[in-house]
Symmetry: C2
Subunit: 595 residues, 2 copies
Amino acid sequence: MRVKRVLKLLAGITICSIFLSVCLWSQCNHGNLPSRQDQNFYRDDLAADRRIQGNFDTEQFHQRGIHTNSLNPEQEVKYHAIDCIINGEYNRPVKCRRDNGDIYVPFDFIKNYFEVYGKLETGDGYEHLAFSHVNSMVHPPRNTYSPSGIFMSFEFYHVEERDRVKCISGMEGVPISTQWTSEGHHYPIQIAQYGLSHHSKHVLQGAPEVLVLEDGEEDRVADWIIVDKRSQVTLTDDTTLGIRVVEFASSDSLKTPGLSISADEKTNHFVSVDLKFISNGSLSVMVETQSQQVFHIHYVLSSTLILIEGRDIYYGLGPRRGQWIHVTRDISIDLQKGLALRYNKGKRAKLKYNFSKITIITIRGHGWLDNLTLASSAHLDGFYSAADWLVTHQNDRGGWPVMVRRKLVPGLLELPPGWYSAMAQGQAMSLLVRAYLSSEKKKYLRAAMEAMKLFEISSEQGGVLAKFANTYEWYEEYPTTPSSFVLNGFIYSLLGLYDLKEVASGDAALMAERLYNVGLTSLKFMLLLFDTGSGTLYDLRHVALGVEPNRARWDYHTTHINQLLQLSVIDKDPLFKTTANRWMGYMKGKRSHHN
Amino acid sequence: MRVKRVLKLLAGITICSIFLSVCLWSQCNHGNLPSRQDQNFYRDDLAADRRIQGNFDTEQFHQRGIHTNSLNPEQEVKYHAIDCIINGEYNRPVKCRRDNGDIYVPFDFIKNYFEVYGKLETGDGYEHLAFSHVNSMVHPPRNTYSPSGIFMSFEFYHVEERDRVKCISGMEGVPISTQWTSEGHHYPIQIAQYGLSHHSKHVLQGAPEVLVLEDGEEDRVADWIIVDKRSQVTLTDDTTLGIRVVEFASSDSLKTPGLSISADEKTNHFVSVDLKFISNGSLSVMVETQSQQVFHIHYVLSSTLILIEGRDIYYGLGPRRGQWIHVTRDISIDLQKGLALRYNKGKRAKLKYNFSKITIITIRGHGWLDNLTLASSAHLDGFYSAADWLVTHQNDRGGWPVMVRRKLVPGLLELPPGWYSAMAQGQAMSLLVRAYLSSEKKKYLRAAMEAMKLFEISSEQGGVLAKFANTYEWYEEYPTTPSSFVLNGFIYSLLGLYDLKEVASGDAALMAERLYNVGLTSLKFMLLLFDTGSGTLYDLRHVALGVEPNRARWDYHTTHINQLLQLSVIDKDPLFKTTANRWMGYMKGKRSHHN
C-alpha cells in the first residue's frame, strides 16, 4: 500500500512541475503581446516542456488535456504571438495571435485601418463585441409626402440643442448660429431647419396641454406675491384690443423683488406670455438645476443677445417698449445656452447644471400682461418665429444672404460674406409654404415665390445657379467658382421647388415647375457620380479642382439616403429607390461589384 | 517525517486537480470557439476553480503563476471566446477572442469582409502574417517616353503565355484569343499588345544570340541524319535570290523518318527557318517534357490552327506551297498550347508537362531551306508578325473589327460582332508607328494614319466616338449605346494618337494632334469621376444605366496608375502625377479624407 502511495506522490509532483511550466508559458502569452525575440523564447520554453514530457506516457498525458489547447490532442501547442506585417511595413508590425491555423488580429488595429466602429456590450449578460460599419443611422421618411406635412424626418431634429446654436434670440425667437464664427449670426439654413423641425413635431404631436397661470379673468387670477407695498397687480381692460388683461406696476430694478408667481414645474418648461411695457421692465424666471443650484433668467428690454453674470442669465427682448409683444421661451434651453457661455458640455454634465424645475416667475416694471402660461412644448411658436424671420429679412433679390466667410477649400473655394445658398432658399420655401398652408397668410407664399429668383442667376452673378459640364443646371448650396456641386443641399433645394410648385399658381407655378424639372433632370444624370461603390461623396469639388474626392461622412451618407427615399415618393423613377437601397447596403459593409 | 510527506502529498494532489481543471478549461478555449452557452459554462468552471482555491494561500498560488494568463497575477483569468456581432446580425456572430481589454478578430473574417489579402510567411525563420491591401503591383513606366521606345511597362507582358491565348497561329504568327469565344478569334488588342510587348523586350534586350544549324554554306553544313536511302540533302543555289540554300527531298509522310538534325537544346527553344516547299511537306520538332515525356510538334502546309492527337501536336502553316516562307516558333509555347487542348493548367503542372528540351528537328517533303537556327528569343519576329497582321487585315474604314459579341452588361450593353475598339485602334497605332520607325517602311505609317478615321465617327454610326454630357469627346474601348466610358482603353487610344502625331506629317499630323488634344481635355475633366476615394472605377456605365458602379479590380487600378505616370511624362499637367500618387496610396489602404 504505502509504496504505491509514494509512487502516486512522485507522479503527482511531476505532473505539477509540468503544469507549472505550461501555465507559466501560457501566462507569458496572454498579456501585452511579446516581441519577435520573445516568440523564440517561447519555442525554447516549449522545447523544455517537451523534454519534461519525455519521462511520460504522452498518450495518456494528452488525453488528460494537459499541455495542448487544440481540439486534436496529437497536436503540439500552437497558440502564440505573431507579427502581422501590414502592406510590407516591417518597421511597425501589428501584434496578432496565432492558434493553430487561425490568426487573430486586434480589433483596435481594424478600427483604425478600416475606419469602422465597435464596442464591448454586455446587455442581458451577453458579453459581445458590437461591430458596426458606420456611426450613424437612417431615419427613413414616410411613404407619403405633402407640402403641408412632415418634412423628411425632421421630427428627429433638435436644432436648438446643438452646440453650434448659441441661443434662441429673445428678439425674434430664432436660433443664432456659431457655425464659422463664434460671435454668432443668423444662418438662414439653421433658421429654416428650426422652423421645419418644429412644424414636423407639431404635425406629429398636435398642440400641447397648456397650464394658464394668468389671463386677467377673475376666476383664474394668479396668486401674485407682492412684497413691496408700492407694487400692485390689477385687472383691467385693454380698450384697443377689447380684452381683459393684467396691469402690473413695480420698480423695474432687478434688485427689487418685483411681482412674482411661485411654481414647482418640472415638465412644462415653456413659459409664454403677452406683454406690453410702458416703463423699463423685465420678465424673470428662477430655475433650479438637477444639482439644486439656483439660476435667474432675465428677459429684458435691451438688444443684448445673451449674457451671464454670476447666477444671472440675460436675454434681450429688444427695445420694444409700448407695444404688445409675445414671448415664448424654453427655459431649459435658455438655461443650457446661458451656462454654455461659461462651462463646456462636459463640465455642465459634471456639475449637473441642467434644468430641473421652474420655481418662480417674476415681472418688473409697469405695463400689462396676458396669457401667462406654462406648457411642455411650443412647436407652433418655433415654426412661426422662423417663418416670420424669413419674411422680415428677405432682401430685394429674394434671398437671405449669409454674412460669414465660407471656406469650402481654404484659398481655393471661398465665399466672402453675403453669399446665398440654394439650400437656404429651398428650405425657406419648404417652411414658408407650410406656414402659408397652415395660416393662409399670403405673405408667406409671396416670400416663397420671391426666393426662386436667385435660382435663375449664375453663381458668378451672385446667384446659386451652376452648370455641370456646361450642360446640367445645378443649384448650389455653396455657389463657389469653380462649382462644388454639394449633393444634399441641391436635393433640399429641389424639395423646396417641389413644395412651391404644388401650391403656387400662375407664372410662379410655371417657374417653380420648370426649375424643379430642370434640376431633377440634372440630378438623375449626376446622382451616381456621387456613388463610390462603398459610400458616397459629399460634393464634386475634386472634379473641378483636381484634388482628392471629398467622401461624405456617414451622417451625410444617411442624409443622402433619406433624401432619395423622399424623392422616390414624389418621383416614380426607380433610380432613387434602387440607389437608396444600395447605399443602405454600403452601411453594412456591402460594396458594388468589381470587374 | 511521514506526516509531513502525506501533507505534501495532499497538497500536491489538490494542486493537480486545480491544474487539471485550468488546463481543461484552456483546452476548451483554444479549438473551435465555443457558443454563448459554452462561455457561461466556462464562468461556472472558473467559479469552481476559485472554490478550490479557497483552501489555499491565494497569494503564493498566484506567485506560482497558476490559474492566470494575464501579466498581472492579481487579475483573474480573462482570456476567453467572445462573439462579435457584425452590423447587428445576431444570427451569425463571428467567433473572436478576448484577452483582458483586447479583442482579437479572426483574419479569415477580415479577409472576406474587407476584401483584403494575406498569407502566413516563414521566410528566414521569421513567421509572420503578410497582410496586403491588394493583390497586384505597380510596374511604373520610365521617366521618358518616345514613340520608338518601350511602350508603358509592356516588357512585363507575356501575352502568348496567357490562358486566353489559344495559340500563336502558324499562318501569321499572331496570338489567337479565346476571350468571349472558345473557338478563338483574332483580337486586334491582343495582337497589338503581343507586338508591343515583344518590341519593348527587343528594345531592352537587343538581338539574341543565334545558333545557326544550317545555312547552306559548306563550312557549316549540318549533320543530317538520313535513314531512308531515297532521301537526300544537297547544297544548291537559289538563282532568283542569288543565295546558297539547302535542297531537301524525302517522303512527305509523317510516318517516314524524313531528314533530321539531332539536338539537345534546353534554352534556345526558338526554332527559325526559311522554307520553300514544292511538294507537300512539314517541319517537325521532337521535344521532351520535364517528366521526360516525348511529344512531336508538326508544322504542316494546312490551314489547321492547332490540333493534338496522341503525342503529336499540329500547327498549320497555311497552304503556302511554292513560296519562300519564314517560320519562327517558340517550341515551349507551342508545346504548352498543344497540351492545353487536352489538360488544364493544374493537370499539366502535375504531369510536369512543360518544355524541357528540343531533341530532334525533322524536315519532310521536297523543297529548299535556309537559315535554320535556334535562339533564346525572337522578339523582332513577334513584333513584326503583329504589325504585318495589322497592315494585312485593316479594312477600308481603317479598322480591325472584332468578330465576337461583347456583352458588357448582358441585355443592356452589348456589341454585336463587327465592332471596333478605340483601344485596338490606338494600340495598333502605337505598334505600327514603332514598326515604321524601326523598319522605315511606309506601309506601317499609312496603316496607323488610316486607323484614325474611326475616331471621328460616333458609336451610333459604327465608330468609336462618344460624348460625355453631350460635351466631352471620348474614344470608346467598347462603343456601346449608351456609352460606357472605359478609362484604360481611352488612355491607350490617346497614347496611340500621341505616337502618331509625333511621327506623322501634313494633314494626318494635324488630325492626330486635334484628336489627341480633344481627348486629353476630356480626360482632364473626367479623370476624377473614376476616383472613389479608396480605389478607381473601371468605367462610367453606372451613370448612363443607373446601376451600381463597376469598381476596377486591383490590376486594372494599377493599369490606371501606370497610364497616369506615363501621361505625366508627356504632359506637364500636375493632375496626372498627383492623382497617380494618391491612387498608389489607395493600394496601401489609404483613403481620401471625408468631411
